[in-house]
Symmetry: C2
Subunit: 229 residues, 2 copies
């Protein structure tokens, strides 16, 4: 019964580059927390929230539930941390892509294209789009979303809209942003599930471009959103 009861407080690979402001103990702690998050992200992506047991997560991280519940208040809280991490990464990548150019229309195209790419990533799809609203509840889902990716999309939409019609108010911008955000999220699923994803992505871009061109044309003709009433 010499069951190897190793790994007490001795991670197999101690974080080598000693972080200045942290004690050894704090570094070990941060390491286990980080590992838990990473393993959870992987398993949640692969099997979904309900089908991923905490036992599987702690086994993957080579710790026990005691460690998990020390760092997180429960399964949902852990999921929320993973969710935020994925959201933040996505928002940042979109933001970076937009800074490549200065022209509003080109920024918009770059941003939307990057968003379309992001929304095809398995992790973002599963954790944010597919299971986010269900696991977090729509309220919290939306709160999180509005602190990262959605806001980026909203900025894009605002730039496009106001380039042609400076009279649209913030609420109207938010409305258009909601529509675009929903459209692109659905597009991501559609593209990924298609028999020829690349072809599907091209069609999405084509359709979005057509819609944007329509908006642009209306703007050039002096037709304002308010004129629709």
């Amino acid at each position: 019964m010499a069951k190897s009861s190793v790994s007490k407080l001795v991670p197999k690979v101690p974080p080598l580059p000693s972080v200045p402001g942290m004690s050894r103990r704090q570094q070990f702690s941060a390491s286990t927390k980080k590992t838990l998050i990473e393993v959870a992200e992987k398993l949640f992506t692969e099997h979904g929230y309900a089908s991923t047991s905490l036992d599987a997560i702690v086994a993957g991280a080579e710790v026990t539930k005691g460690a998990l519940y020390h760092h997180f208040s429960g399964k949902q809280a852990l999921y929320e941390v993973v969710f935020e991490k994925v959201e933040a990464a996505t928002a940042q990548s979109i933001d970076a892509a937009m800074r490549e150019t200065k022209d509003p229309w080109e920024q918009a195209r770059a941003g939307l294209r990057t968003f379309l790419e992001a929304v095809q990533q398995p992790t973002y799809r599963r954790i944010v789009v597919q299971e986010g609203p269900s696991v977090l509840g729509y309220q919290r889902y939306r709160e999180q979303e509005e602190r990262s990716t959605f806001t980026v999309v909203e900025d894009i939409v605002a730039a496009v809209l106001r380039a042609g019609d400076r009279s649209v108010d913030d609420e109207m911008v938010a409305t258009f942003a909601r529509l675009f955000f929903g459209a692109m999220s659905a597009a991501g699923e559609s593209v990924t599930e298609a028999s020829d994803p690349e072809d599907a992505a091209d069609r999405i871009e084509l359709a979005v471009t057509y819609l944007l061109t329509g908006v642009r044309t209306l703007a050039e003709q002096g037709v304002r959103v308010e004129d629709m009433r």
Copy 2:
């Protein structure tokens, strides 16, 4: 301990209008199944899938788990039946609204408006939009969807697009339909959650009208989707 062990095979209210083709036993059975579905729909809508226990469902239907597992293979199968029921009802209501008029553009507006209304119903929101993809898995979700509501939306989109540009193929129609479907689904959540839902719904309609007008304008100018390449 005279615990009333009633309701063996004696429903409190036997289905009065004797259905011709069914025996009494079959009618009782159908009644039990129907009740289970109705109770499940109610509880799933109010508390969500995960937070609704089978015990709560069978208690609400005044039966036991034996009855439930006789009619359904499990919790998810029951959910799927509820899902189909909700989807069918929604598709039918949209379809009915569209038959009110004959003009393609008016049909489209009527259809989209009805869809926007449907997508605000608590049952459709919770069971189809919010938890559908998560509970059924995206694959099955999409299969179900394409057998009812999505197809109706697709027909609307096809009519609008081809009214201006007869050259768009089926795949392109499907692409636009995906975008619109996603946009409207997200819109439903947005509207319901808004402080002033009516006002929010008006803005959605305004935005959609603007986008459609853009499409219409392009079509009138002879600009085709393929020209975007």
